[in-house]
């Protein structure tokens, strides 16, 4: 019951985040090495999309609230159109 701290969680949970965004936000994982970054990180953009949908703080980071939402049981249908 106690409220979660507002500080961002720096724990590494890439697997959960990636699989969640792949399943429900059409995240395409590109494992090809790149010479330089082209614009905004795709994963961060998808995180922002998810955070906006759920009314969370939109920061593109897997903070505690975002991770908590990702761990809730849910419908398997993506939140965005495919």
């Amino acid at each position: 019951f106690p409220v979660a701290p507002e500080a961002e969680d720096e724990r590494k949970t890439p697997k959960l985040v990636e699989s969640y965004l792949q399943n429900f936000y059409d995240l395409q994982i590109d494992h090809q090495p790149r010479l330089r970054s082209t614009g905004e990180n795709h994963l961060s953009a998808k995180l922002k999309e998810m955070q906006e949908f759920f009314g969370l703080q939109v920061n593109g980071k897997p903070d505690l609230d975002t991770l908590e939402m990702m761990q809730k049981p849910r419908c398997g249908v993506p939140d965005i159109g495919q």
Binding site: F24, G76, D79
Partner: protein, 367 residues
């Protein structure tokens, strides 16, 4: 609400469904009942009808399946994804798959089949996920007692945008998710809880922590599955670290953060006569150990130390609390008592025995 991209819909209003197999965790009759009730959620508010078939191809085929079940959307074992459904269309269109790795139940002890089926059928009919946290079509699962379930207005608006209204003379309406900054917001009950303030509205609680700017909206059932929705009064006894919740002629005790065993109990155990059917509001004065209960235009005083009602009550609320006639909700904080009636809030000073302020009911939410 959101419609499925491309706005797919069934061309006929009379649809068929078939349950291909049954989960072994529930009685077949309970599965049938859960599915029928889930279908009624949608047929009650639209011209749609659903007929069960036992053989052949139905518009909506429902099945309980494990893991990879050959539709390119594998399930993931217990938890996580619970079910999925396909948008209206031929073949797999409209079909609903339930993850057999979940513990399906007819109540709240596992994953409630009715709630999940009702959500998935929304997809089968052409609805996408809603970002209204109170909507049935919100993507995450939260338990609501099926007996208390009412289709939220957001979902009614969504499905009627596709299929139109039902043929019923009186159109059903549904609950709206409370918005903390809605100036028309009223409250069922309010209490403090270990420094926080909890506002109850329908099946929701708005949680205001003194050190956090934003207000958290949750289902009551998320924290206290045994509590019903529509709590009518609540108060904190700081001395005993307890909160009492009231609905109709019953009350529950929260010790720490958990509902104490043995509840609900009848309010008559507190000393109310049988003529009192419900409590509208309550607060406890921690300095005097007296708890005030408000019912209609009267109030009762309870002695927390003697654990009995004081003599000479009930009295008229206006006789002690100034112009306050009726109370929806009340709580005490920092020496003042806050009374809520509709969208108005009165700040009462119990030492001076007079009203010292009048605000909008939503003044606590930093709007």
């Amino acid at each position: 609400y959101a419609l499925t991209p491309g706005n797919p819909k069934w061309k006929r209003n009379n649809l068929t469904y078939r349950i291909l197999n049954y989960t072994p965790e529930m009685r077949r009759a309970d599965v049938d009942e859960a599915i029928q009730k889930a279908l009624r959620v949608w047929s009650n508010v639209t011209p749609l009808t659903f007929q069960k078939v036992e053989d052949g191809e139905a518009d909506i085929m429902m099945s309980f399946v494990y893991g990879d079940h050959r539709d390119y959307s594998p399930f993931d074992g217990p938890g996580g994804m619970l079910a999925h459904a396909f948008q209206p269309g031929e073949g797999i269109g409209g079909d609903v798959h339930f993850d057999e790795d979940e513990t399906w139940t007819k109540d709240g002890t596992g994953t409630n089949l009715f709630i999940v089926a009702a959500h998935e059928l929304g997809h089968s009919l052409g609805l996408s996920h809603s970002n209204d946290p109170g909507a049935l079509m919100y993507p995450t699962y939260s338990y609501t007692d099926p007996k208390e379930f009412l289709l939220p207005q957001d979902d009614i608006d969504g499905i009627q945008a596709i299929y139109g209204q039902s043929d019923a003379a009186v159109q059903p309406t549904g609950p709206v998710t409370p918005q903390p900054c809605d100036p028309s917001l009223t409250f069922d009950a309010i209490t403090t809880l270990r420094g926080e303030t909890i506002f109850f509205k329908g099946r929701y609680m708005l949680r205001k922590h003194p050190s956090r700017a934003e207000t958290e909206l949750n289902f009551i059932s998320l924290f206290w599955p045994k509590l019903p929705s529509g709590i009518q009064a609540a108060y904190e006894n700081v001395e005993r670290d307890e909160v009492l919740f009231f609905k109709e002629d019953k009350y529950w005790v929260l010790r720490g953060y958990d509902i104490a065993p043995g509840y609900p109990k009848p309010i008559y155990r507190l000393g109310f006569p049988k003529t009192v059917k419900r409590v509208n509001a309550a607060y406890s004065d921690e300095t005097t150990g007296k708890t005030y209960f408000f019912t209609a235009d009267r109030y009762w005083r309870y002695d927390e130390n003697k654990r009995s009602m004081d003599h000479g009550y009930p009295k008229k609320i206006v006789s002690h609390f100034g112009k306050i006639g009726r109370v929806d909700a009340a709580f005490q904080k920092d020496g003042y008592v806050y009374f809520f009636h509709g969208t108005t809030q009165f700040q009462f000073d119990p030492r001076a025995k007079r009203i010292v302020g009048q605000m909008k009911s939503i003044s606590w939410f930093n709007c």
